[in-house]
């Protein structure tokens, strides 16, 4: 479950479909916005969207990071061939955003709209209410002008149509249209299960609203009820510069196709301390302990397996970790910490069967790479699980120690790193 960022392109496209209905016909947004991906063919794109040749355009990366103006990553007032040239330039070189390096792959193209007013609106949720933030002074300096932002609270039981917005708005020609727009954006926020939505800035040209910049996150647990609204093409891109390795991708796929949870992130593939921990809570504690004992920089991976995964799923997970660990031999070898608390209902013997299968498959590599294994676990059938895995360790001749609940959960971290 998570609040996941979606592309600006998608947030704008979805809005363009419903704004007229939400505003009872009073406001519309053309949704003239294009997403350029690595596989995009520029001539086909032009054939489908002839307006690209007729209007001046804006281009910027659409990859879930902001401050693109300040980073020099906005192309303004271009024609279509200038757009193509700009995109080609930008995709070819590695760039650094904050401290992260990566390549630009996705871009958004829209009409260039000269305008005067820049308004700000965002909506965020708190436990018992949502807050609509609105300002007449939107734009890139919004943070410096935050004192001019008005907060409009909407409790869970309020109906937005019943809220009087007059006290928040100047009595000028735009008041009525702003009232309608704020209420429409709120309905969009609720119906589409956004957890965060920001349009900074937006402007009006006649009765048309132009969102110039949009940031949106949806509640991905709502996908079973919102997927019809979101559409099949909704993407939840990884943050910039964080393309998944093929092993992380593999585990992610396993995770998506099971009710269990399987998570793996590579931190330092050359690291000497590897973990396979049961449960999100425990995995954080093990990572903390490894760092506390001074081996933070040697921590190779972070992740967890939980929710009673099958023997096969555990096997695939363990295999992936063992494969990554045994690619390069180092002096003093490496340690694998197979840890966890006392499970409530996961069958420990069952999950250990999967781990045992992986140890059998990798026994030669484990020995060759001087890998030492430390296990600690409790829960249903833990005695059988520990007994079996100890027996396998002896049988295969690999250095393996296994402990139950009588040993403190993170004791094995000390035992492991003391050998490095």
């Amino acid at each position: 479950m998570a609040q996941l960022g979606i592309r600006e392109y998608k947030a704008k496209k979805m809005l363009s479909k419903v704004l007229k209905d939400y505003s009872l016909g009073k406001i519309s947004y053309s949704g003239k916005v294009i997403l350029v991906k690595p596989e995009t063919n520029f001539s086909k794109l032009l054939k489908k969207n002839s307006w690209l040749k007729k209007e001046k355009l804006v281009v910027k990366p659409d990859m879930l990071f902001g401050k693109r103006g300040k980073l020099g990553l906005i192309g303004l007032n271009f024609n279509y061939s200038q757009i193509q040239k700009w995109i080609q330039e930008k995709t070819n070189k590695k760039i650094k955003i904050n401290k992260t390096e990566g390549y630009l792959t996705h871009f958004i193209i829209e009409p260039f709209v000269p305008h005067n007013e820049e308004y700000y609106i965002s909506i965020q949720s708190e436990r018992d209410r949502d807050i609509i933030y609105f300002s007449y002074k939107g734009g890139i300096e919004i943070e410096d002008n935050w004192d001019k932002v008005m907060e409009i609270p909407v409790s869970l039981s309020d109906r937005i149509d019943d809220i009087n917005l007059d006290k928040y708005l100047k009595d000028d020609k735009n008041r009525d249209i702003l009232k309608v727009f704020i209420k429409s954006i709120y309905k969009y926020f609720i119906d589409y299960n956004f957890s965060f939505l920001e349009i900074n800035p937006f402007t009006f040209i006649d009765e048309k609203i132009i969102p110039l910049d949009m940031v949106a996150k949806v509640d991905d647990t709502a996908s079973f009820e919102s997927t019809k609204l979101w559409g099949d093409d909704i993407e939840f891109p990884s943050p910039f510069g964080r393309a998944l390795t093929k092993e992380e991708e593999y585990i992610k796929n396993l995770d998506e196709n099971t009710g269990a949870s399987l998570k793996l992130t590579l931190l330092n593939p050359e690291g000497k301390v590897w973990t396979m921990v049961a449960g999100g809570g425990a995995s954080v504690i093990y990572a903390d302990t490894i760092s506390d004992l001074g081996f933070g920089s040697e921590m190779a991976n972070y992740g967890e397996y939980s929710g009673n995964p099958s023997t096969d799923e555990t096997y695939e997970y363990a295999k992936t970790v063992l494969d990554l660990m045994t690619r390069k031999k180092v002096t003093k070898g490496k340690v694998l910490i197979i840890g966890g608390g006392i499970a409530n209902f996961t069958d420990v013997a069952k999950t250990f069967t999967g781990i045992i299968k992986a140890l059998e498959k990798y026994k030669d590599k484990i020995k060759k790479n001087n890998i030492r294994i430390y296990i600690r676990r409790g829960g249903p059938n833990y005695q059988e699980g520990l007994r079996k895995i100890k027996a396998v360790g002896e049988e295969l001749g690999i250095p393996l120690e296994a402990y139950g609940p009588e040993t403190h959960m993170t004791e094995i971290v000390k035992l492991a790193v003391d050998t490095l």
Partner: protein
């Protein structure tokens, strides 16, 4: 029962969903602590009513199964707790139905994946009705020696070695169910054991927060030490 207590040795519960293992584990606990009557009084199974066979000690007993919450509660007026095993798709509706029933004071929502807005509405409903919701995305919790929620605490040998069958002095609360069970063990090795432990679940908007349980523990004279694993957010 005082206002700082949610469950005790007389709590009777309705299990929504025919969760065979969880139900048997609750009855094993009930038998171990010598409860007069099992803590599971009725079950809701939307597809089939009838009876469910379980062991209460060595004796086989039957627990009635109903097709909906209203019917189950109509026939068992002493049930005040609902342990809801609905999937994330229907957990919102069934939890709200449970909360709206006058005799239900507490709903535990096991499902992981309840949409955030729905979870907030549940929390608000509980607050408006002065009732308790634990979860979503939780394994539950336990009042040592009195009442065990579903799969909390695992098997009987863990219940005994973590002293969960006897009343201790420590009040424990955390987000994580897995780490709660580990902590019951650590606490049992270093004190007279827990009085009560609650896992509020991993969601952004739990039905009851860590803070709310801490306040409740503070009022309970039987709790002499409070332990929290996690962080305030």
């Amino acid at each position: 029962m005082n206002n700082y207590e949610i469950f005790n040795k007389n709590t009777q519960s309705l299990i929504f969903g025919l969760q065979v293992k969880a139900i048997q584990r609750m009855l094993d606990f009930d038998y171990l602590i010598q409860r007069e009557k099992p803590s599971v009084t009725a079950i809701v199974n939307t597809t089939r009513d009838g009876f469910h066979k379980v062991f209460f000690g060595k004796k086989e007993i039957l627990i009635p199964i109903y097709k909906n919450i209203k019917e189950a509660l109509k026939n068992h007026k002493k049930i005040d707790t609902m342990i809801n095993f609905s999937s994330f798709r229907s957990a919102f509706e069934t939890t709200m139905t449970g909360l709206e029933e006058k005799q239900i004071k507490t709903v535990i929502v096991i499902a992981e994946g309840v949409p955030e807005r729905k979870a907030r509405i549940i929390a608000q409903k509980a607050k408006d009705l002065n009732k308790w919701v634990i979860g979503p995305a939780t394994v539950g919790g336990i009042v040592a020696g009195q009442f065990k929620i579903a799969n909390t605490g695992g098997t009987i040998d863990n219940i005994i070695s973590s002293k969960l069958n006897k009343s201790g002095s420590v009040g424990f609360v955390s987000k994580s169910g897995g780490m709660s069970n580990e902590m019951y063990n650590v606490i049992a090795r270093n004190t007279d054991g827990i009085y009560e432990g609650i896992a509020v679940g991993g969601d952004a908007y739990p039905g009851s927060t860590i803070y709310e349980h801490l306040i409740r523990y503070e009022k309970n004279p039987k709790i002499r030490m409070i332990v929290m694993l996690g962080f305030f957010s």
